[in-house]
């Protein structure tokens, strides 16, 4: 009886754990695909965070982006996490990380090794270090090449949302 109860409990954990974590395959994008997402003409505020699991400050700030993603569900704010993890470490690095940190915000993996060809197209001021974040609405764009805190992201969104 005890064993049966335990199995039911474990099954319950498995299901609830599965719901909160990423359960879809991470889309792997080339820059030409991602670029469209950096210039969307709509009245939404887009929060695009460039990060990687091997980057300490990125790991620190990621929960703040997740929080924003969960808080702004009713408003026109869309968070996208663009991972620059090595594609070869998708299953050993990125997926387990997203699961254990219960990240539900959309994640894509940018597989474009020649960064020199696309860094300037994200923002000409970006030198290439991670983390980096683009927050935009229409043609109003804010770009940060540093670790952000909740207040930074919140403040940027609020400064754009009523424009």
């Amino acid at each position: 009886m005890k064993t049966r109860r335990f199995i039911i409990f474990a099954f319950f954990l498995l299901i609830t754990g599965g719901i909160s974590a990423q359960d879809k395959d991470i889309p792997m994008l080339k820059f030409s695909d991602l670029e469209k997402l950096l210039h969307q003409k709509s009245d939404s505020v887009f929060v695009i965070n460039f990060w990687a699991t091997w980057c300490g400050p990125c790991r620190r700030e990621l929960p703040e982006f997740e929080k924003i993603h969960q808080e702004y569900t009713r408003e026109k704010v869309k968070v996208l996490l663009v991972s620059l993890d090595f594609p070869s470490r998708l299953d050993s690095g990125l997926n387990p990380f997203l699961k254990s940190n219960r990240i539900t915000a959309p994640v894509v993996l940018l597989n474009e090794p020649d960064a020199n060809a696309w860094i300037d197209k994200v923002d000409p001021g970006w030198t290439g270090s991670l983390p980096a974040t683009l927050i935009y609405k229409g043609s109003n764009r804010l770009f940060y090449e540093r670790e952000l805190h909740y207040q930074d992201i919140y403040g940027s969104i609020e400064s754009l949302i009523n424009l």
């Binding site: 091997w54 980057c55 090794p113 020199n116 270090s129 991670l130 670790e147």
Partner: protein, 200 residues
């Protein structure tokens, strides 16, 4: 007059603090940093060199690790031609313990680096150069006055994932250009890297 001077000074200081760093065409400063063998190394110690490949790198960043063997190959090929590699770790070990001086010595011995691996313990040199990440390379060439002029800044090549799939060897092309008395084109490129670790 004094006020104007101090305002000018303030602007200059702000400019330095903003970490503008070196640009192509600028004169690069020499430095004196501790090597993994305990001895201090300066660029003036290499009178035969035509220039230098200064690489800000570290032990821990996956991008830096992906380029370790390529730096060894680069040094082997270009030291004899007058452009030795000088690697510098500027990460603060208090933030990233894997980049301590002791860990540098271990990595140097494991990888059998053919070039100096220097520790920018005070985190001054990377700021003067304007390195923002690892790896970040600066190609310097000596002019007729023995000054060090920045000729190229940026990426090693266009494929961190696979050395055998490189199409544009930016840094190599830049050195080859200097060796045949041409200016590198492009003279600056960008790459993804890990930010230099500093206390916040």
């Amino acid at each position: 007059m004094k006020t104007i001077l101090s305002i000018v000074y303030l602007f200059a200081a702000a400019h330095l603090l903003a970490g503008e760093g070196l640009k192509v065409g600028d004169k690069a400063a020499d430095f004196k940093l501790k090597n993994v063998d305990g001895k201090y190394v300066s660029l003036v110690d290499f009178p035969q060199a035509k220039g230098f490949v200064i690489v800000f790198t570290c032990n821990t960043c996956p991008y830096a690790k992906a380029y370790q063997n390529r730096f060894i190959a680069l040094d082997k090929e270009y030291k004899a031609k007058g452009f030795p590699v000088i690697a510098i770790n500027a990460n603060d070990p208090a933030v990233e313990p894997g980049d301590s001086y002791e860990a540098m010595v271990t990595r140097y011995n494991e990888k059998k680096y053919s070039f100096p691996y220097l520790f920018d313990q005070k985190q001054e040199v990377f700021r003067i150069y304007g390195a923002t990440k690892t790896p970040h390379t600066f190609l310097l060439e000596k002019n007729e006055k023995e000054e060090l002029i920045v000729k190229y800044i940026g990426a090693v090549d266009d494929n961190y994932q696979d050395a055998s799939a490189v199409k544009q060897a930016y840094l190599k092309n830049a050195i080859n250009a200097l060796l045949s008395n041409r200016e590198p084109d492009p003279n600056s490129t960008k790459a993804i890297g890990c930010g230099v670790k500093q206390k916040t």
